[in-house]
Amino acid sequence: MRLPIFVSLVYLFLYLPIIVLVIFSFNSGDSYSWSGFTLQWYRELFQTKEIWSALINSLIVGGSAVILSVALSVFMIWGLHQKLTAQKINYLISLFYITMIVPDIVIATSLLVFFYFFHVSFSLATLIVGHTILGLGFAVPIIYSRYKELDKRVVEASLDLGASDLQTFFYVIVPFLYPALLSSALTVFIVSLDDFLISFFCAGASSQTLSLYIFAVIRQGLSPILNALSTLILVGSSLLVFIFTFLKLKSSSRKL
């Protein structure tokens, strides 16, 4: 099996800048030319307190957005299916596609205007609200498409055998949705960590996230510490994807 030249070139293009960045994180000079190997920037990275407090803020926001958007989505999709017809559900679900249709900058400015109008001061809480909106736009479609594959007879069997609605929900439906819950949680987390615009518009001056920190550093120009940080983020996210793929394989081998 050979890789066509065209496909290899596209992949090379996608990876070229990141590879260069990783190499330069070990560069002893702080310019664009190579002057020797060092681990100095990693040492300085661990000593920069600002980065770690920004990371903690990002993790708080990302974690809350994940919990909120996944929980809200799964309860809503289950609840709607108890009472409404498929067509009505489709109408309501389409509400959550707005996030995809509208550019991020419009969502960001509208939230800014909204909070400003009601004199809500910007903080991590306003940021969590914004990121949950982003997250719902991913979690609802992912979980909904999995829910549609649920065999209704399994639910009926569970109810016939004496389980209550809630027991059926927690012992039959949630385990069935597990792969979708996992992938939506991961997607929302990544989207939240990656987001810059909503953070830029909706975070207060006191609540700096990793994205905002990186933005401020890049504005000042070249920073070798940022290269070291990028390398660690790259390693971290590859690990996360590996764990995720492993969990998904495990759950798909344990079918209902």
């Binding site: 496909v7 419009v106 509208s110 205007v113 810059f196 518009f201 940080l229």
Partner: protein, 286 residues
């Protein structure tokens, strides 16, 4: 007569589905309405068109048209390059498929700002491209590759290419390759087969990918800010300028609305044109 407790348990599905919808309406739909309000109101209940009148001129129009053109160019370029890659991944890659898909999404997991930043090392005056070209003697003076439209378009293409490949891959993966064999058996050549069979069947992926890349490129803020050298304004950069630089929320809201309307109209026009064109080309030949 049911007691209160029973009534509560009957309505649990209702209670648990309301929060998500409420959240979406309160923090997405309502704020978008507030953009309209902000663009049109100059008092609590006093409405005016002055903010719109202030931005209906050639300066603003040119910025919108420039953003539309750049978005169109980027989406078309992504489509052109992404299609063969997605085709290969979906129909030819076989065993390597999962690994290649993993590699495709990995850069998107690195912070978006860092991806943009990493291009400095490649494009700068003493970045690697200039170094290589200078040392091999192809050029004698370093190329000017940053702070211009070229850098903006290149990086936009780099960032948004995966967003085109993935929807195309998803639709081509469901495509039955036996259709190609059937078409070839019936005497069509490979080019005719592609344009009459494969491409029309993948149109929903093409639309989705084009739409995603177009919308994201149109509202882009960071890439022109970092790689455009603040020379040319785009819709996204001007909006953030209104909100943070000029602190003029009313005009900012009006401009956000105006540019969104242009974006919507362009997409609708493109969609209608595409649909008619495909219809006529099919009916002429078949």
């Amino acid at each position: 007569m049911k007691n209160l407790k029973e009534k509560f348990f009957d309505n649990i599905p209702f209670f648990v589905s309301v929060p998500a919808i409420l959240w979406q309406v309160l923090f997405l739909c309502l704020p978008i309405l507030f953009i309209f309000y902000m663009a049109l109101a100059n008092g609590l209940f006093a409405f005016t068109f002055e903010y719109f009148r202030g931005i209906l001129d050639w300066v603003h129009l040119r910025i919108i048209v420039r953003s539309l053109l750049v978005a169109m160019l980027n989406a078309s370029l992504c489509l052109l390059i992404a299609y063969p890659v997605a085709y290969f991944l979906a129909l030819k890659a076989k065993k390597m498929k999962n690994f290649l898909l993993f590699l495709l999404t990995l850069p998107a997991w690195v912070n978006f700002l860092i991806q943009v930043y990493s291009w400095f090392f490649v494009l700068e005056r003493n970045g690697i491209i200039n170094k290589i070209l200078l040392s091999t003697g192809i050029i004698s003076d370093p190329l000017h590759m940053i702070n211009n439209q070229f850098a903006i378009s290149l990086v936009m293409f780099h960032i948004y290419l995966p967003f085109m490949i993935v929807p195309l891959y998803n639709i081509l993966e469901k495509f039955d390759p036996q259709l190609i064999d059937a078409s070839l058996d019936l005497g069509a050549n490979r080019i005719v087969t592609f344009f009459r069979i494969t491409f029309p069947l993948s149109l929903s992926g093409v639309y989705l990918g084009f739409f995603l890349v177009f919308v994201m490129t149109f509202g882009e803020v960071v890439i022109p800010m970092f790689l455009g050298g603040n020379k040319t304004l785009f819709v996204g950069t001007l909006i953030s300028e209104y909100f943070f630089g000029a602190r003029n929320m009313h005009t900012g809201a009006a401009f956000t609305l105006l540019s969104s309307m242009f974006m919507g109209a362009t997409l609708l026009l493109l969609y209608i044109l595409m649909k008619n064109k495909i219809k006529t080309s099919l009916s002429l030949k078949g």
